[in-house]
Structures are given as C-alpha cells and as structure tokens.
Symmetry: C2
Subunit: 211 residues, 2 copies
C-alpha cells in the first residue's frame, strides 16, 4: 500500500520520512476509529508504530494536525471506491450503491467515518467541519443527479423539495444500514442497499415519490 | 427532575447521596455524549459537578460501572418518550415516529445514543452489548408489529424476509435522519420521518414492499 503513494526513486532519508508519516496516519486512523478522536491519545497511536508523542507532534504539529491528515487520507482512500467516470441520472445512484461493496471490504474506513460523524454531533469537535462539508457534497451531488434523471425523463417529475427529501432518505438508509452492519447485524449490506434503491427508483418512475 | 426520582421523605444523608449519584450520572451522560466513552475521563466528568475521580469510583466502582448507570438512566429516560399503551399493527409505527419529536426536545439523550452506537462499532467497546440488545429489541418489536398489521389485513401479505427488510430500512432511516439533524442539517426531523413512514405504509398497503 505504501508503495502506491511514494514516488519511485526518492532518496533514502526523504523516502523513509514519507513512509513513517504514512505508518502514523494508518495507526491514527485505526485508533480514532476504535476509540474516537478524544479517546485516541497520541501515546496510543505512537505505541502501535513505536513512535513517541513528541515524534507525532514533530510530523503533524498537533493532534488536530494529525486528525486533518487522517481525514485527508480517508477521503483519498474512500475515493478509490467511487467510479472514475461520471454516470448520468439514475446510473449514478446504481454506482453509488456499489460503493457499499467497497465499504464491506474496507471495514476500517467505514468505522472511522461513522465514528467521526457521530463524534461530530458535538458542535466543538475538530472533525465537524469536514464531516458537514462531506454531507453537503454528497447531498449536492445526489440532488443534481436526481434532477438530471427527471430532466432526462428517466423518472416522473418531482419538485426540488421532493428531490431533497428523497436524497436525504437515501443517504439515511445507507448510513443506518452501515451502522447496523458494523454493529454485527447478520445482513448482506450491498444487497439490502440495492433492494432499497431499486424500490425507490420504481417509485420515482411511477410518480410515487415521498411527498 | 431529581425530584421525580427521589422518594419524598427520605432521610437527609441518604437523600443527599442519591442526588449526588444522579448529578454524576447526568454529568457523565453529557461528557460521554460529547467526547465518547474513551474520551470522557472520570476527571472531566467529576470536574463538572465538583467531585474527584475517587468519589466517582466510590459511587460506581469503576468507569465501566458508571457507563452501566448512564445507559440504564438513558433507557429509563428514553422510555418516557414512548407511549404507555401498546398500539396494534400500523398504529405502533405511527407512535414510534412520534418518538422523534421527543428526541428533538431531548437532544442530549439522542446525542448520547448515537455516539455510543457509533463507538460500539468497536467490538471491544463496553457499551456494545447494551447497544446490540437495544437494536435487537427494536427489530423484534417492529417485526412483530408489522406481522400483526399483515395478520389484521391492514397491509398486503409479506414474507418474514420482506418484513425484516422493511423494518431494518425503517430503523436505518430514523438513525440516519437523526444523525443528519444532529450534524446541523436544516430539516424538520419528525416531519421528514413521518413522510417516509406514510410512504412506506402506502407501499405496504398496495403490495409494493421492498423485495
């Protein structure tokens, strides 16, 4: 994995620093996912990779700096689960649902996200702005794609307000099912998410959206 | 509030102990909701009510003992949001959705629950068993009530497997919308939850359940 991100031919000491930085970020991602941001101390994070809290501060400035690096890394990795092209209208939603397969294969990334999101219900949490921006982006993208599906005639007409309600509920279904799965529910997460989406699409097509 | 729970006429020193215990539980509920279980130290919890960590240990045995008291208190308080009678079939779901109004008025209880649930995606979390039991109870109750609605002819026939899928998705919608609301989304949580439920009921009645 580290090999993907370092540039071949980098000189020894610099390369070693980059790898060390990535080790620390991976440790912090695990620890924040398991213990939350406030529960995950620099000492615990450092212990897992044999580094002192002082070394971590040297690399990232502060615990908040390390969190920023962890979230940036999460975003890059989670992005690998998305399609590289930009499917139109309804196809976008089918591609979005396939992301749950990526989540099932990368449980740690999902656990980190859900833990940071729930942590950020605390208005003073340092991840709150990142999480809020993430939700705003997902809402904005999905809203635009459902509007596109309406405009292309793939589904029946809907008001902006109906579109927002449909999208918020779809996002809620995904988050909620992921939480149940992480808590050990015996479900086929991608299959159940797909069933909900196909049901929603049938309703959208026949003009029976949530209203 | 404390007056609700202490018995009138209790003798001074005993009563003082009960009130002190309740103050500590309230402080711990706030702190665990804000910082998570691992992030909320006995010192932080004690500081908010002018008690030392040693006093907290004296009352609750350990931090895990205090968590158990917090979860028990949460369950008692969340129970006040439920109807005291036991509505049949579909009426049960309409009553369940009204619980979101209670949640909006008691944000701290909701924040504590969502934080503990996300924390408990860590298999070693001391709240995990409580949270898993809670989900199993809600799933079991809702499944029985939707089966009852089928048997009473309120909705079209559904297989057990369809009923479980419908209920898991309903629970996901509630958790997911609550998370969005806690993260600051500009939504009318009870209204949006009600819209989803009424849509689901219409689908159940016309035999268009998720399948």
């Amino acid at each position: 994995m580290a090999g993907d991100r370092t540039t071949p031919g980098m000189r020894g000491p610099y390369r070693k620093g980059v790898e060390r930085r990535e080790q620390i970020i991976r440790s912090a991602s695990e620890v924040f996912g398991e213990l939350g941001y406030f529960g995950g101390s620099l000492r615990t994070i450092g212990d897992r990779v044999g580094a002192s809290p002082a070394t971590l501060t040297q690399y990232f400035g502060s615990k908040e700096g390390l969190l920023a690096a962890v979230l940036e890394d999460w975003q890059r990795q989670a992005g690998r689960g998305l399609l590289q092209d930009d499917p139109l209208g309804l196809e976008y939603f089918r591609a979005l649902i396939r992301v749950t397969e990526f989540h099932v294969e990368h449980r740690g990334l999902l656990e980190l996200f859900i833990t940071m999101a729930a942590d950020s219900t605390n208005p003073g949490h340092p991840a709150r702005e990142f999480i809020q921006r993430r939700y705003a982006d997902v809402l904005g993208n999905c809203t635009a794609k459902l509007r596109e599906a309406v405009d292309r005639g793939e589904v029946a007409p809907m008001s902006d307000e109906q579109i927002e309600a449909e999208v918020r509920i779809l996002i809620a279904v995904l988050d909620g099912l992921e939480l149940q799965w992480l808590l050990g529910a015996d479900i086929d997460l991608p299959a159940l998410a797909t069933r909900y989406l196909e049901h929603a699409i049938t309703c959208w097509q026949s003009g029976r959206s949530i209203s």
